[in-house]
Amino acid sequence: MAGFLTWLSTLSPWLEIPIIIGVFVAAVAVLLFFIEVAPREGRVFTIIRLAACVLLPLGVMWLLQSYTWAIIAAGVLGALFFWLDLRSRGGVGSLFQLFGFVAPALILLLIGLVFPVIQTFGASMLNSRGTTFVGLDNFVWIFTQPQGIRTIVNTIVWVLIAPIASTVIGLVYAYFIDKTRGEKVYKILVFLPMAISFVGASIIWRFMYTARPADAEQIGFVNQLIVWLGGSPVPFLQVEPWNTLFLIIVFVWIYTGFAMVVLSAAIKGVPTEQLEAAELDGANAYERFMNVVVPGIRPSLIVVLTTIAIASMKIFDIVRTMTAGANDTSVIANEMYQQFRSFEAGRSAAYAVVLFILVLPLVIYNARQLKAQREAH
């Protein structure tokens, strides 16, 4: 495997793409063939099945250049699996088929997510080299030094401001353009930033924020506006504590499109009769909006708010690209990376755990709302 990958990496990237995809598709085709013939009766198919059960794990471990004992263990497990399959209640080959479909994904998830999460929890209680158990020292360190507290506070500020700002602007915009001529174009214009990478958006806004000395001509549009209005240019990314707010604006610029599209669809679902009844009762546009539309789309509003809150809690790219955490703008995900870069594995893991714990209640609440919303429809 390492050999194959090393050989692959010497090729031109344009060759690598078809080769890796081709190899992968071929492997899946072989797997599907075995799945297809698995339940068939007869000695030939039994032998094919036995061969697949033993040789596939052996082959995978051999390709990964694992240790001899591990390769043998894989083969033995395969043989055991063949025996279980032979005696399974669903008939011969039923376990084999099931395994063929779900095992690739489950094994990858186990190795790539489940084990690492357990390991990260463990690593957060070890020192930087992962050799000594230090208990909760890493967490104490985060919550006692000013930089760490600042990071947590910044993240909380992000989560409080970003979702509300994006949702409110998205909602108002969606309501204003609802059923107007050119609604589609309006939507595309605001949704466009969703397509752009956070890195691209960060560069776009760094350019907007650029400041020149007061006597020179401005090249950043925001500062030019300030100068036109009679102010003097502001180095937006350096003024504490407002710089975090200016980073949040970039995020809002991106996520408003998301809020707008979801809420626009929800607004279209508000019953016409209710709006007409409210109008007959003499409610003006604002009252109808607050008393009919907003309550009518409440479930969607909550889902949008929590979804954006989760995204803003994990924010990394914008901070990394625009300030790299300088001038007190760091957030948890950035600090996690920063500690990782300076080989502080323990502290890095601790930041990851803090992020996990903070995000957990939000995600659970979000999933529940989603479920409720889906059932309501």
Partner: protein, 316 residues
């Protein structure tokens, strides 16, 4: 990493006029006052100006960008494509932007297709094969979506670079062998959402269709290949586009797993912003090179794009 929107809202951009309910009468039309229209135009302008600004700037000569604002481009006439040639050939950390652009493709295409296939297989297994503990296992896969990917970085890196699992060596390391690390990382991180979304879709395929194929003598392999794959193409396309854009736009996974000469364009741009933050002629052109691919995907595949993006909007 949560899934967000119910099927109904996924119509999104495309159904501007076609509402499920009868169109509003006069009551609604009077509601949109000229002020609302003006406010909408202002918001749309604020959302468009920044992108427009760097697009214009990227075609202006270097000196002009540094001394005059792009909104004066008509007074300070002068256009060039020099910035793009220079940006593509500028090396940051031993890698030119052109190479990084190619890297982005080499990372993104396999990292979008491979998880998709693995997830479709698993989704079929969860939807159409009965086994004990199925629901529990599926909930487990669903629950993995809540894990921030940061939780997996360091251990996964140890597995790649040292072949270690829980500190015990199990396989030979393939650390720096090209794109492999990024491919595998993106594949794994994409799986929970992909399985969940595709399962929702595949489970809704009518049972009679599958039963009919079974009567005709098709096994699971054939059913999957001949029935499931073609029928779930809309869901597969939506997720493919979502995953493509997610990987293309990703910075975090690239910073950890794409070292040296396999770095994608996002990583290169982020580094360039750090080291040459005032070279606006390079940054504007570079940023535009990086966003042109997602923009094209967006404009041409809008329906799938919106559907996919809504579904995975808090992934990561």
């Amino acid at each position: 990493m949560t899934t967000t929107t119910p099927p109904i809202t996924t119509q999104g951009l495309t159904t501007g006029k076609a509402s499920r309910r009868p169109a509003l009468g006069d009551a609604k039309r009077r509601l949109t006052s000229p002020w609302a229209t003006i406010a909408a135009i202002i918001i749309a302008a604020i959302w468009t100006v920044p992108t427009f600004g760097i697009l214009v700037s990227s075609f202006r000569p270097r000196v002009e960008i540094q001394t005059t604002g792009w909104w004066t481009a008509l007074q300070n006439w002068g256009w060039t494509t020099e910035n793009y040639t220079e940006a593509l050939n500028t090396a940051t950390g031993g890698l030119t932007m052109l190479q990084a652009f190619v890297n982005s493709f080499a990372i993104t295409l396999p990292a979008a297709i491979i998880p998709l296939i693995i997830a479709t297989l698993a989704a079929y297994g969860f939807a159409w094969i009965d086994f004990r503990g199925k629901n529990l296992l599926f909930v487990g896969v669903f629950a993995l979506q809540i894990v921030p990917i940061q939780m997996a970085f360091i251990p996964l890196l140890q597995l790649f670079s040292r072949g270690e699992l829980f500190g015990v060596p199990v396989i030979q390391a393939f650390g720096s062998a090209g794109y492999a690390q990024v491919w595998i990382a993106h594949t794994i991180f994409g799986l929970p959402l992909a399985i969940f979304l595709l399962h929702n879709f595949i489970a809704q395929i009518p049972g009679e269709v599958i039963e009919a194929a079974r009567v005709d003598g098709a096994g699971h392999g054939q059913i999957f290949f001949r029935i499931i794959l073609p029928l779930s193409m809309p869901a597969i396309a939506s997720f493919a586009i979502f995953q493509f854009l997610w990987v293309w736009n990703d910075l975090l996974v690239a910073l950890i797993f794409a070292d040296g000469n396999v770095a994608p364009i996002t990583k290169l741009l982020a580094q360039m912003t750090g080291s040459r933050g005032e070279d606006w002629h390079l940054l504007t052109a570079g940023a535009f090179i990086a966003i042109i691919v997602p923009l094209l995907v967006f404009l041409f595949l809008q329906r799938y794009f919106v559907r996919g993006l809504l579904a995975g909007s808090a992934k990561g």
